[in-house]
């Protein structure tokens, strides 16, 4: 019974603790926060707690040299609250519920309701006072807002990341050019299937690989001119699938499926298997984020030259080429952008109580965007976490104990107005990827309703989207015909779609004014 002796005190004492602390959770935050400096002692370092997702296990802590340096630069006293990315949405809700809020927290998708109820500062009113933050890209600003209000500083990502990647060596072998239009693309897919592009004499290749993931369809239909989520017709919002281009795109998809130019069982293929065929000499085209090109290239290099081949060997042959997209049959380019940001840095009102405090927190965020601090948070300290080689490229240290001081600190980087970090040495393909991302920004189709959130959509959105997405896949695979497609759209309308359209138009006309 030794165990009992040990366990009982634990249980009893825990019970006592429960009696004392249960119900006090809301007071804790208040008591810890009172020490925050107001305007009077603005020379004192600002006490700032940041909650953000982590990916690694050896993370920078308050003794980190990088954090210390940033504290000096920004006159702050930084406390880091790491939460594994895996559980971040749960922890986000729990943190809101517990009332023990940090000064800055990275948002999770469930933040919208809390924001609309005034839990976070409306930073949109203030950011124009800050040299970096005021240069926030207006498209991203709109995407990151809720019904016109910006509740946090978005963490910027490339807007034009999407593209198409094609086997360059297959094109060359068959004497084909890179495609310019959707028709060219179709011809290439046919050739990849029928003309033995790998030259092994076997009928073992096909055109484009797709999986359960809906991204490729969304991208390609945008090339045909289908609006991004919502289109505007006579000053009113209309869902994308009610535009004639949508039917045109779907018929194109169906043709690809019927002629065996895409993998037949794609609807069941887990996204983790999606890249297998293109990395395995079976498929010649994939539509996804354009920076995948060099990853595919690397796998094909290994396949061709062996697992341990050298860089010189690998440079002998280029397998991949990438494009931002192709033009519609009339020669016009419209590409699908990404949202351009990945979550916001929210500033909760219970933690940051006054406007004066808010301004200091915003100043801190603004300062992290200075070139020097961006590099500090991304690369670390020169001579410690990285060195520069003769050409000015970053060479990171491999010493994990030193890297620990930097690990995942870039999670509170916002990169406004732009990414000012130093690039590592690039292969031509990687340079091309970067060019495409930049170039794509000219052709991306904005969502006119970005940042508008309808009540009905926030309740049933996922369900409604699924009706349309499923119908698209069923149509491509031949499970339903045009009538079935129409029926699905009717179903969407009656189950809440009409209501969503109505609400969105109300919001749209309000923000237009």
């Amino acid at each position: 019974m030794k165990l009992m002796k040990r366990a009982l005190p634990v249980v009893v004492s825990s019970l006592l603790v429960a009696g004392i602390t249960a119900g006090c959770s809301n007071n804790e935050a208040a008591s810890t926060k009172s020490k925050k400096g107001g305007e009077s002692d603005s020379n004192k370092p600002l006490d700032i707690t940041i909650m953000m997702p982590s990916f690694d296990q050896e993370l920078a802590d308050e003794n980190s040299t990088v954090v210390k340096k940033l504290e000096e630069e920004t006159n702050t006293d930084i406390h880091l609250r790491w939460t594994p990315n895996d559980t971040y949405p749960d922890k986000f809700s729990i943190t809101l519920a517990s009332g023990d809020l940090p000064d800055i927290m990275v948002s999770a998708s469930s933040y919208v309701k809390a924001a609309q109820s005034g839990e976070f500062w409306d930073v949109g009113k203030y950011i124009d006072d800050y040299p970096n933050l005021k240069k926030l890209n207006p498209i991203i600003r709109q995407n990151a807002s809720i019904n016109g209000t910006l509740y946090g500083i978005p963490r910027i990502r490339a807007l034009g990341r999407n593209g198409i990647m094609i086997r360059k060596d297959w094109l060359d072998k068959l004497g084909l050019q890179e495609p310019k239009t959707t028709d060219d693309l179709y011809k290439i897919l046919v050739a990849f299937k029928n003309d033995d592009p790998d030259g092994n004499g076997k009928d073992d290749t096909y055109g484009m690989t797709v999986s359960q993931f809906s991204g490729p369809w969304d991208n390609i239909q945008t090339w045909f001119g289908v609006p991004n989520e919502w289109g505007v017709e006579k000053g009113k919002l209309k869902p994308y699938f009610e535009f004639p281009e949508y039917q045109e795109a779907l018929d194109y998809f169906k043709k690809l499926f019927d002629e065996g130019l895409i993998n037949k069982d794609f609807a069941a293929m887990p996204p983790s298997k999606w890249y297998d065929d293109i990395q395995n000499n079976k498929a010649g085209v994939i539509v996804d984020v354009v920076d995948s090109a060099h990853r595919i290239e690397k796998e094909l290099d290994k396949l061709e030259f062996g697992e341990n081949s050298t860089a010189e060997q690998q440079e002998q042959k280029t397998f991949m080429t990438a494009l931002g997209g192709v033009a519609d049959p009339d020669g016009k380019k419209h590409y699908l952008p990404t949202s351009g940001f990945s979550n916001l840095l929210l500033i909760p009102k219970p933690a940051v109580k006054t406007e004066a405090e808010l301004k200091r927190v915003l100043k801190f965020i603004d300062q992290t965007n200075n070139q020097e601090n961006q590099r500090l948070l991304f690369h670390g300290i020169e001579g410690k976490q990285y060195t520069l080689d003769g050409n000015g490229y970053v060479v990171a240290t491999t010493d994990k104990t030193v890297l620990k001081d930097l690990q995942d600190l870039n999670q509170f980087q916002t990169f406004i107005p732009e990414d000012l970090t130093i690039k590592p040495q690039q292969t031509p393909l990687r340079e091309k990827e970067a060019e495409i991302q930049k170039e794509n920004e000219k052709y991306v189709v904005g969502n006119p309703a970005a940042g508008l959130i309808s009540e009905t959509y926030s309740r049933m959105g996922a369900q409604l989207d699924q009706i349309i997405d499923d119908a698209r896949i069923k149509y491509i695979s031949g499970q339903i015909d045009k009538a079935g497609l129409k029926a699905a759209i009717e179903q969407w309308k009656s189950q809440g779609g009409d209501q969503v359209t109505k609400e969105m138009n109300q919001l749209y006309s309000k923000t237009k004014k």
């Binding site: 990916f55 296990q57 895996d86 729990i94 990395q279």
Partner: protein, 293 residues
């Protein structure tokens, strides 16, 4: 052992062997594939749908996993939590199951009702988190052991097993002057070795595989158990998934597919080794011998 010599009996025995062996092969082949895959290259995994011996042996996946500085420490955490946690589980479960197996205990049905009701209605994540927080268990190993100290399911089955034990022994022990603790310790537990083994295994595997509790309740990465680390290793190696959120300037691409398989091997093999040690208790009856003595 019982022997059957009729023709029918022999046919049955043969069929029995064949069916069970076939079933065993079906269950274990995919696992062998995972182990083999963990030693293969990504290219081979893509090109061959199934294999038992890889063409090129590669340790890259294991090198990648073990290059993670936290792995060995987290293995220690997992072993510690599994052993101590299972002891805590067994203590709470056995002490509660024994009185509840006594039909004459006043209030027994009410307590049982309470237990069963708790299986069907739960407060959910946030309220439970508040209790753990209120008890001051956050970021301690206790948070991985105490909130799941008793599985109602296991408790009821153990209670049921206890009920089936012959009452004569208990009476004999009582005549010898044992109190209730003595009866539990000297009679019930020794007679329940298969049960102890079974539920120790259930609890131990539960602790070993658990990552949700650690993700919710443990903030310090140095206290994370193996499964959390392995999940992160997999997430980090799948750059396509995390691309939008993770910006690692020093990212070196690991063999994503084989890493996935190697993490399964690393996460599973240690706990699989426990089974044969406990197994002898499930296969042999202990009742007969003890009844006679």
């Amino acid at each position: 052992m019982r022997k059957w010599n009729s023709t029918g009996g022999k046919i049955f025995d043969c069929l029995n062997y064949v069916i069970l062996i076939l079933f065993a092969v079906c269950t274990v082949l995919p696992f062998i594939y995972i182990i083999a895959g963990s030693f293969a290259t990504d290219a081979e995994l893509r090109s061959r749908a199934f294999f038992i011996i890889p063409k090129t042996i590669s340790m890259d996946a294991y090198e990648y996993i073990f290059s993670n500085g936290s792995l060995v420490r987290s293995l220690g955490v997992s072993v510690y939590v599994t052993i101590i946690g299972t002891l805590v589980n067994m203590f709470f479960t056995m002490t509660m199951a024994y009185p509840l197996s006594r039909r004459d205990l006043r209030g027994r049905n009410k307590i049982l009702g309470l237990v069963i009701f708790s299986m069907l209605f739960g407060g959910g994540m946030i309220p439970t988190y508040m209790v753990v927080k209120g008890l001051g268990l956050l970021d301690t190993y206790w948070a991985l052991m105490i909130p799941g100290a008793i599985s109602a399911f296991n408790l009821i089955i153990v209670k049921n097993f206890f009920q089936e034990l012959p009452k004569e022994l208990e009476d004999a022990a009582r005549i010898d002057g044992c109190n209730e603790l003595g009866v539990l310790w000297r009679i019930y537990l020794p007679l329940s070795k298969p049960i102890l083994a079974t539920f120790s295994l259930f609890y131990a595997v539960g602790h070993w595989n658990d990552f949700t509790a650690a993700l919710l309740y443990i903030n310090s990465p140095e206290k994370w158990p193996l499964q959390v680390i392995l999940r992160q290793v997999v997430a980090l190696s799948q750059n396509v998934v995390a691309a939008g959120d993770r910006l690692d300037p020093n990212f070196v691409e690991p063999p994503a597919q084989t890493v996935k398989m190697a993490t399964i091997a690393v996460g599973t093999v240690p706990i699989l080794l426990v089974y044969p040690f406990l197994q002898k208790y499930f296969t042999k009856g202990v009742l007969l011998g003890s009844v006679k003595s």
